[in-house]
Amino acid sequence: MRNGKLLVAPAMLWLSLFFAVPLLIVVLVSFATRTPYGQVIFKFTLANYQRFLEPLYIKIFISTLFTALVTTVITFAMGYPLAYTIAKLPVKWQQPGLILVMVPFWINFLIRSYAWVIILRSQGVVNTLLLNLGLIKQPLALLYNDYAVMLGMIYALLPFMVLPIYVSIEQMDKRLLEAASDLGAPPWTAFRRITLPLTMPGVAAGSILVFISSLGMFVVPDVMGGAKSALIGNLIQNQFLSARDWPFGSALSIVLAVLALLLIMLYYKALQSQEGGASDAKELA
């Protein structure tokens, strides 16, 4: 056992050097001051956090949360049936099904985002097709709006929802459904009362993965949203790269991280109280 503990040393060292220390630096910088030329000087201030409370930034923040929430809900609505269908395939077709879900990962994310641009732009695949079919006279503005950003996010994050849900459905004891049927539950009722509650951990895991990932997403809004649609990820990226305002960028990052943590905690709390049986009992009675 004593020797076994040594085995975690490399990982601990790695994490403290490349995760804990940088995180600490970000926290420190978020309380620092910026000179007019973009230099960071360590003079303590709360100004960076106060600046975040300006309506412009609050608005961006809220629209980021909203986009993340909608992305999560839609990936759930699309991902659950897909995961369920794959889990119910004959065993030899399940693996190919999962691989098809994961195939997009084999191509660089940036390239995939630009592929969407080619599909959606005014002279793109969709518009050209519709024009040639005579269904429209003017190209549709499919790109560079909030819907395009949403589409790109859902496309990018759907696998993160499908995989955990698939695992939880696949692991569920199938005899429970036989028992439900034996006790008089038609298939839909058995799904609602047995399968769905028992696969909630998978749904929770998928939702957290998708939600957190979409909070920090900046490539998709950049490429598919154009200048119109800035999310918090783009804002942070700008502070570090173009605006050269590291302290403000750091403050934004910390706020985002804290918020994400809080949401995860809330989600688990909610899930636990549901598993605690309180809501079950109410529903059953």
Binding site: D182, P186, I194
Partner: protein, 332 residues
């Protein structure tokens, strides 16, 4: 007796694999019938066809004189106790039991009444808010039975319900189940591979082998008058003495008597066989004496109680005899 379940010309195939070639079976109302056989003999498949969880490839299933062959499980008036209980892990005891009543839209106050009744019957009143994971195997077993019983099914199907319990608890639950069935006058169809369990609990035993019925009789008949070598071997231990006409005589080890080779007393019949003791194994209440018969490779076993003549030693020469009424002629 009124008929409750009738299986007519049942054949079941999985792909090219014939599990059950052809079975006809009628089960009476209030009967405790056990399907007994080794694993893979088709007994569970047969049970699942009555529950509706499998559909026969050919043949009909009647429940209370109604053809239910193609009726979905959730529309059948039978309930099953599953081998590993299949309790809903996200519901407590009471919610598990309430599930069936809710599905049948039983009024709420009646639900509560029936739940309380069945909790009392299965001695689970103290545990009603426990989750399955917080209970022992024996307690989970009771919940599984309560969950099925509360629906007042026409037939209760039990698929090796005691298989996961330890020996002591199993013995206790056997008696409890039997009393429950008698008290309620319910029809039980019970699947097990444990012959002792079958003998203890059943009104009638159907011994199955390779998807076919070997013997369908009372426990007493099954034990004392097995119709085939398979049944005699499966139910308890048995010795077989092959006859010239292709049949064999089956004699239970407790009915086999040993005497010294030299002993030609007239108090017992002339020994039919002679042999050498190869092993004596102590079993608490008995000694199991293994004897190799002369002129063959066959070894037979005799149970000797300690108040019998003597305790046998290895390498002793013995004669083997039995009373005519203790032998059963069986097919090979």
């Amino acid at each position: 007796m009124k008929e409750m379940v009738r299986l007519e010309g049942i054949t079941k195939k999985f792909g090219d694999n014939v599990i059950i070639p052809n079975i006809n079976l009628t089960i009476g109302d209030g009967e405790f019938l056990t399907l007994l056989g080794p694993s893979g003999c088709g007994k569970t498949t047969l049970l699942r066809m009555i529950a509706g969880l499998e559909t026969p490839t050919v043949g009909k299933v009647y429940l209370d004189n109604q053809d239910v062959t193609s009726l979905a499980p959730y529309k059948r008036d039978v309930n099953m106790v599953f081998q590993n209980y299949a309790l809903f892990p996200h519901m407590n005891v009471e919610e598990n039991i309430r599930f069936g009543l809710m599905m049948k839209k039983v009024p709420k106050d009646e639900q509560q009444e029936r739940i309380d009744q069945v909790l009392y019957l299965t001695q689970l009143e103290e545990l009603r808010t426990r989750r399955p994971a917080q209970m022992s195997g024996g307690q989970q077993q009771r919940v599984a039975i309560a969950r099925a019983l509360v629906n007042n099914p026409k037939v209760l199907l039990l698929d090796e319900p005691l298989g996961a319990l330890d020996y002591q608890l199993r013995k206790k639950m056997q008696l409890e189940l039997k009393n429950l069935q008698r008290g309620l006058g319910l029809t039980f169809i019970y699947v097990t591979h444990d012959q002792e369990e079958a003998l203890t609990m059943s009104d009638r035993i159907v011994v199955m082998n390779a998807g076919q019925i070997e013997q369908d009789d009372s426990p007493d008949k099954i034990y004392h008058h097995p119709s085939s070598k398979f049944v005699a071997r499966f139910i308890g231990e048995s010795n077989f003495f092959d006859l010239a006409d292709g049949t064999a005589l089956a004699v239970r080890p407790e009915k086999l008597n040993l005497c010294l080779e030299a002993d030609s007393s007239t108090e017992h019949p002339e020994p039919a066989y002679y042999g050498t003791v190869v092993d004596v194994v102590f079993y608490g209440t008995i000694d199991k004496v293994f004897v190799r018969l002369d002129n063959s490779n066959q070894t037979v076993v005799a149970y000797q109680y300690f108040d019998d003549v003597k305790r046998w030693q290895q390498d002793e020469r013995v004669g083997i005899w039995w009373n005519k009424r203790d032998e059963v002629k069986v097919k090979k």
